[in-house]
């Protein structure tokens, strides 16, 4: 609730400045980072932030438990790659088409599920993910099946292509900033308020005249659109796609990221993604037992974080003590 109130209040100018500084710091990252490995990790984080933002709209803001977002990511990636490679569609158009295909499919899929509560939606989304995998893996003519599609062209338009890692980084950063602005407006506006209301008390929302089904379908459509759009960027960034990149395990990873960072929090989304990508990378080692134990250590951290921060790092509910202290220490803080 505090989060809702805080987000309704006019943002302090200083906070805007802090965000601006953060974005600037990100933008100069390619110029200051030695080597390109960490640049790649940050690029990957930004791409996954788009997926998880989609997941978060459905799960965090609108409160629906979907476990098959990777299928929509894959759908977007395949749509965009096939459009650009086989039909010569320019990438920006292909990316929008990717988002549209995923978004429309998601919205259609959600309609029959919304009448049923409990875990039906999770089952349907898991089932959809399996079905997507099976179809992508078998429809040889369209997707080349398990062979995957190599040689995907880089992102770009109008004769320009983002071929270097730095160009790709800046392009992805620009898209992510744009999406953050749009999603920020959306979730703070009437639609976002309706989603939150439905999430917190569906019956009450229905009673006061909120079109519950309509808003839920909309949440699904927007969430899956983001996943599809992100999927397009992912495919053109990786330069290769194959069905095994979009399996159920990937969906579970997206859900973990969303919850770790904090449901219904945009900064949380980015933080959750970064930690879930960076921590396993930081744990890499030559120690034989650690090579084997690495996924397990990541799992143990997940359990610990859930126990100590059940609302995610920057999620709904209480403000993390670290941030609270930080705020109190700042000259303009304390108001809260």
């Amino acid at each position: 609730m505090t989060q809702t109130l805080a987000s309704l209040a006019p943002a302090p100018r200083l906070r805007g400045l802090a965000v601006l500084l953060f974005v600037l710091a990100l933008a100069v990252l390619p110029l200051v980072l030695p080597g390109r490995f960490w640049l790649h990790i940050v690029s990957l984080t930004m791409i996954y932030t788009i997926f998880v933002l989609g997941q978060n709209i459905v799960t965090g803001w609108a409160g629906m438990l979907t476990l098959g977002q990777a299928a929509f990511v894959g759908m977007g990636a395949y749509t965009s790659v096939i459009l650009t490679m086989q039909y010569g569609v320019p990438w920006p158009l292909a990316a929008l088409a990717a988002g549209a295909v995923a978004g429309i499919t998601g919205a259609l899929l959600s309609i029959p599920c919304l009448r049923v509560k409990a875990d039906f939606l999770s089952l349907v989304t898991i089932a959809f993910n399996q079905i997507f995998f099976v179809v992508a893996n078998n429809w040889m003519d369209l997707t080349r099946g398990p062979m995957g599609i190599p040689g995907v062209p880089a992102m770009g338009a109008f004769g320009w292509q983002a071929t270097t890692a730095t160009q790709q980084f800046w392009l992805i950063l620009a898209v992510v900033i744009l999406l953050f602005v749009i999603v920020g407006r959306l979730t703070r506006g009437p639609i976002g308020r309706a989603w939150k209301m439905i999430r917190d008390d569906e019956i009450a929302a229905g009673t006061i005249g909120v079109n519950v089904t309509g808003y839920k379908v909309l949440a699904f459509g927007v969430g899956c659109f983001l996943c599809g759009l992100g999927g397009s960027i992912y495919g053109h960034y990786m330069r290769f796609i194959s069905p095994d990149m979009f399996k159920l395990e990937e969906s579970l990873l997206l859900m973990q990221m969303a919850i770790l960072g904090g449901l219904a929090s945009m900064p949380g989304t980015a933080l959750g993604v970064f930690l879930m990508i960076a921590i396993p990378e930081a744990l890499r080692s030559q120690e034989p037992w650690l090579i084997t134990a690495r996924p397990g250590i990541a799992g143990a951290m997940l359990v610990l974080l859930m126990i100590f921060r059940p609302n995610g790092l920057l999620g709904l509910g209480e403000t993390p003590p670290v941030l609270r202290k930080l705020r109190a220490a700042l000259p303009w803080g304390g108001a809260k």
Partner: protein
């Protein structure tokens, strides 16, 4: 208490991240030759990664006992791609960024190799690939890669020819793992069977690492009059398939398969039904070749297991690096030198063509006899394959 724990956790996480960010170059100021081995050490195909680790370990002892590369030691480092293309790309970035590696041996899964190659290609880092069978690996125009595994089109012809000509069976039933390895073989096998005048009467794909129940497929194959089982899959599913066929009362149908079946577990999982199965191996584990004997003995003594294709190829690629660099080849020229060379390794003789594929390799037919693999010395009868060449 909780707050303390939480903070320490965050701090140590940050510290670990910083440590990992330190350029690995700092570590590479000795005269050692560093080789990165990338493959799935965890995840669904972890057993292949384990074999890469074991093959490398066995090779390292043999190599460094022989004095390394003119006195310089070869040092291998392992990178886990978990069998996932995304992880493979991250691993590739890390390897390229480190700047200390003379070459990469890997990846194992074709999808991982294909996702990592664009990154290795940027700097032209030599990539020595063992087992990625997807034809795109060498068909995408990359000049910094060679691979050891036999291409699926050539392999499929050999397996089919063995079933049709050597065993005299005309009705093939193909069981394939629905990944790029199994699917590729299955597609090429259809063409080969056609050319040989045989018929594929039934074919069934399954999702590897997920499907374990083959009873419905067995019943289907038998109903369609399959005369020979062509197993285009790994030892796990191949063994389970045969075991389940036996418990459904199916017997007397011979089996032909690639060397992905060449694991002792294949015989165990098939519960006796693997007896007489024909495995066409891209290398002969029972060859009298001195190197092969040394490696096989070492491997069996250390791990009490049969080295798989991944282990053999990892070992051979390390030895290839040793041989070439001892002969004066600099690291960046490894691929060009390999393409020009004829290399004798544990797995026999390798000649690489301009694309980076191995050429004119022959298959060793291995069979299961009294619950163990045994060499047969049979050669594949290639009659009828001429039209495909």
């Amino acid at each position: 208490m909780t707050r303390f724990g939480r903070r320490t956790l965050l701090k140590s996480g940050a510290a670990a991240a910083l440590l990992a960010a330190l350029p690995a170059r700092v570590l590479a100021q000795d005269g050692d030759i560093h080789i990165a081995i990338a493959g799935p050490m965890t995840g669904d195909s972890a057993s292949m990664g384990l074999n890469a680790q074991r093959g490398a370990a066995a090779a390292m002892e043999l190599i460094n006992a022989a004095g390394g590369v003119n006195g310089r030691k070869i040092v291998v480092e392992f990178f886990d791609d978990m069998g996932q293309p995304r992880e493979a790309a991250s691993v590739a970035r890390r390897i390229v960024d480190a700047g200390i590696y003379a070459a990469v041996i890997g990846h194992v899964n074709s999808s991982c190799t294909l996702a990592a190659m664009p990154i290795y290609a940027e700097t032209g880092l030599p990539v020595l690939c063992g087992s990625s069978s997807n034809s795109q690996v060498t068909e995408s125009g990359w000049t910094n890669i060679i691979r050891c595994t036999i291409r699926d089109d050539y392999g499929a012809q050999q397996y089919s020819a063995y079933a049709v000509n050597n065993l005299g069976k005309k009705k093939l039933g193909i069981l394939f793992a629905n990944d790029d390895f199994g699917r590729g073989l299955r597609d090429k096998m259809m063409t080969a069977a056609d050319a040989l005048g045989a018929e594929v009467v039934a074919d069934a794909g399954f999702t590897p690492n997920v499907d374990k129940d083959f009873s419905a497929i067995v019943t289907d194959f038998v109903a369609k009059g399959v005369e020979v089982f062509m197993l285009n899959c790994n030892y796990t599913e191949g063994g389970l398939f045969l075991g389940q066929a036996q418990s459904l009362g199916v017997s007397g149908i011979p089996t032909v398969g690639p060397d992905s079946l060449l694991y002792n577990e294949f015989i165990e999982l098939a519960q006796g039904a693997a007896e007489g199965a024909n495995v066409l191996a891209a290398y002969d584990p029972y060859s009298a070749n001195e190197k092969t004997v040394a490696f096989m003995t070492k491997f069996a003594a250390d791990y009490d297991a049969l080295p798989s294709q991944v282990a053999v190829f990892t070992c051979d690629l390390l030895m290839l690096v040793q041989t070439l660099m001892a002969g004066g080849t600099e690291a960046p020229d490894l691929i060009a030198a390999a393409k020009a060379a004829t290399f004798e390794g544990v797995g026999g003789t390798y000649n690489w063509n301009e694309k980076g594929d191995v050429e004119s390799r022959t298959f060793a037919v291995v069979t299961v006899k009294d619950g163990a693999f045994a060499s047969t010395g049979i050669t594949v009868d290639e009659t009828g394959l001429e039209v495909l060449r």
